[in-house]
């Protein structure tokens, strides 16, 4: 997290987010397997990070001073890959190799294969510990970068996450921020209970006060709508303030919708993973890609293709 120019116009970010969502649905459909709901719920957060907040250079993915990003909910890899491709880490065309044999784009993120992937993930619950270690190492090395970790709300059921939550505060890691993609659903979970759930299954943290739990661990807690770029950037600003004031780790509890942005995938656990058929692809294309400014979209694609 270093000096950064003005935030990009919201319209541009929204268009990018729609493009990412299209690549998620379409790539998974072509590969005939993959996750949808989790990638779509975190899309706006990742677009905001990669196209505005993170101090990174796609041409130098190993820059020692870059901000680090850990996708702890590794099953949402295709969402990260789509963002990385559009940001220029590798050609957008390469997305079509997702999940295929001999591909750099594995089903779950592999830091040894994919440019821009800082930490391997896939077994849920491990990313925050890795983030704590990175942030500790950054402090020991006096490197000023910031470390970001995105976690799922179901993932927070893993005990290892809470080991890391506890450590981050003990070590006073102001250079670490967690983002919880609070999309209200996991893969299967529990049957819905009237009045306590947002969608068609029980909300993972519907029975508990998650922000209060983080506060109890001494974290700075920022609660936002994870689909509003204004609120996301407001949260990033508060993270910066807390970081420069040395207030310890921050968590952005981002209330999101699983499967957000596509009419038939939103708000249901049934699209945790799934393969869209031709009619669904056509519908999603109409919802996501009918742009008033096709020129800008083409420009974005070219930018991604470069590299």
């Amino acid at each position: 997290m270093t000096e950064r120019s003005e935030r990009p116009p919201l319209g541009e970010l929204e268009r990018l987010a729609r493009l990412v969502r299209w690549h998620v649905l379409n790539t998974v459909a072509q590969s005939k397997a993959g996750h949808i709901g989790g990638p779509l719920s975190m899309t706006d957060l990742l677009v905001a990070l990669y196209f505005s907040e993170l101090s990174i250079d796609p041409a130098r993915p190993d820059d020692p001073d870059r901000d680090r990003f850990v996708l702890s909910k590794g099953h949402s890899a295709i969402g990260l890959y789509s963002v990385l491709a559009l940001r220029g880490y590798f050609p957008v065309d390469e997305l079509s190799s997702f999940d295929h044999g001999d591909s750099r784009l594995q089903g779950h993120p592999d830091m040894r294969l994919t440019p821009g992937v800082d930490v391997s993930s896939g077994s849920l619950g491990q990313g925050l510990s890795a983030g704590v270690g990175i942030a500790l190492g950054a402090r020991a090395r006096q490197q000023p970068f910031h470390t970001w970790v995105v976690l799922g709300d179901g993932e927070l059921q893993e005990g290892m996450v809470w080991e890391a939550v506890n450590s981050a505060k003990r070590f006073g890691l102001s250079n670490l921020t967690a983002i919880v993609d609070l999309n209200g659903l996991q893969q299967y979970g529990w049957a819905a209970e009237a009045g306590r759930d947002r969608f068609d299954r029980s909300e993972p943290w519907g029975h508990a006060d998650l922000p209060m739990i983080f506060r109890g661990h001494g974290w700075n807690v920022i609660e936002i709508d994870g689909h509003s770029f204004e609120e996301i950037f407001g949260a990033f600003d508060r993270v910066r303030e807390a970081a420069s004031a040395g207030l310890g780790p921050s968590v952005i509890v981002a209330r999101t919708e699983k499967g957000h942005g596509i009419s038939f995938t939103r708000g249901t656990y049934k699209w945790h993973n799934g393969v869209a058929d031709d009619a669904q692809l056509a519908l999603a294309r109409a919802e996501l890609l009918t742009e008033p400014e096709p020129v800008a979209e083409a420009a974005l694609l070219t930018e991604g293709d470069r590299s």
């Binding site: 510990s129 890795a130 704590v132 942030a135 500790l136 020991a140 290892m160 450590s167």
Partner: protein
């Protein structure tokens, strides 16, 4: 005689003098594992994580991405069992240079009993791709292995013992990854051992000699990657192999030796001595070694028995 844990702590303090990448990440056991020596010498490079072994592994991995080569300090059992999944994904699958020091390995852990005894670590860790697995015999080899691991650019699991054993290697011993060490020449019966059990096997060989049974002793420090040719050379002319390990008879050294021999078409009978697919219990070292057949006397008795009974493969 010095315990391997003391050697580990002291050697790290020494190496860290010139190697700034050495760090120690502890799970609230530094005063058992002897990481406290390091903590006192380099408080800035010592990370106390507390009783959270999975988290320890994740943190050590994170540190490794910044160029550090951290050592983990906890009982082996809590690494190879409690923290196995993070070891698998963040260390083994990434090849990160994280050093796993499995302290208090095997049966002898200060009477803590089966919850703390690690008799499956070799089987588990050697099944992990990318991981180097080493079980040094004594204080001399422990020091050499710790130094070697500090240099190695990849993950290492080192099996260390709590209590001292009689040294079996000369002061000027040089550890060579993969190579087995012929500790004692002898006839067609070979005792093959690993870790500190090799010291007890040497004593068993002396007892057997007194009874007129001449055995050779081969120590296998590197469980992975094994230099297979060096093992085959050491077993040249053997008619029977008896493996002895402070570990389950399933999947550890016995498995490794049997796999290696059959791979090379050597139909030597292999008798595997160790924990016979059962849990152990609390008790003083002498009691446990005696009851579970790993003391020098019991090894000698079992060797003679296996010679008298003949070959289990044919009897079976």
């Amino acid at each position: 005689m010095k315990a391997q844990r003391d050697v580990w702590g002291e050697t790290l303090v020494e190496v860290a003098r010139t190697d700034e990448t050495v760090m120690v990440v502890d799970g609230d056991l530094a005063n058992s594992t002897k990481a406290d020596l390091f903590a006192a010498a380099y408080p800035d490079r010592f990370v106390e994580v507390g009783i959270a072994e999975q988290n320890m592994v994740g943190i050590a991995f994170g540190l490794s991405t910044l160029g550090y080569r951290p050592w983990l300090s906890t009982f082996g059992v809590f690494l190879t069992h409690r923290a196995l999944d993070p070891i698998r994904m963040l260390v083994s699958q990434t090849g990160a240079p994280v050093r796993l020091a499995g302290a208090y390995s095997g049966l002898l852990n200060g009477s803590s009993g089966k919850t703390h005894q690690d008799i499956e670590d070799l089987a588990i860790m050697r099944a992990m791709p990318n991981l180097t697995v080493i079980a040094p015999a004594d204080e001399v080899e422990a020091a050499a292995v710790v130094r070697w691991a500090c240099e190695h650019d990849g993950p290492v699991y080192v099996r260390l013992a709590r209590d001292a054993v009689a040294p079996v290697l000369p002061e000027d011993y040089e550890f060579e990854l993969g190579r087995v060490v012929q500790l004692r020449p002898g006839g067609p019966i070979a005792l093959v051992s690993t870790g500190v059990q090799s010291s007890r096997v040497m004593q068993a060989a002396a007892l057997l000699e007194a009874d007129g049974v001449d055995v050779r002793v081969v120590h296998v420090p590197t469980i992975k990657p094994l230099d297979e040719c060096s093992l085959l050379d050491a077993l040249e002319g053997c008619s029977q192999v008896i493996t002895v390990e402070e570990h389950s008879v399933i999947g550890g050294l016995g498995g490794l030796v049997a796999e290696t021999l059959t791979t090379h078409g050597l139909a030597l009978p292999v008798t595997r001595l160790g924990l016979a697919d059962s849990w152990s219990e609390s008790g003083p070292n002498g009691f446990l070694l005696e009851k579970y057949g790993l003391s020098p006397e019991q090894v000698a008795v079992r060797v003679v028995a296996s010679l008298l009974v003949g070959l289990p493969t044919r009897a079976g």
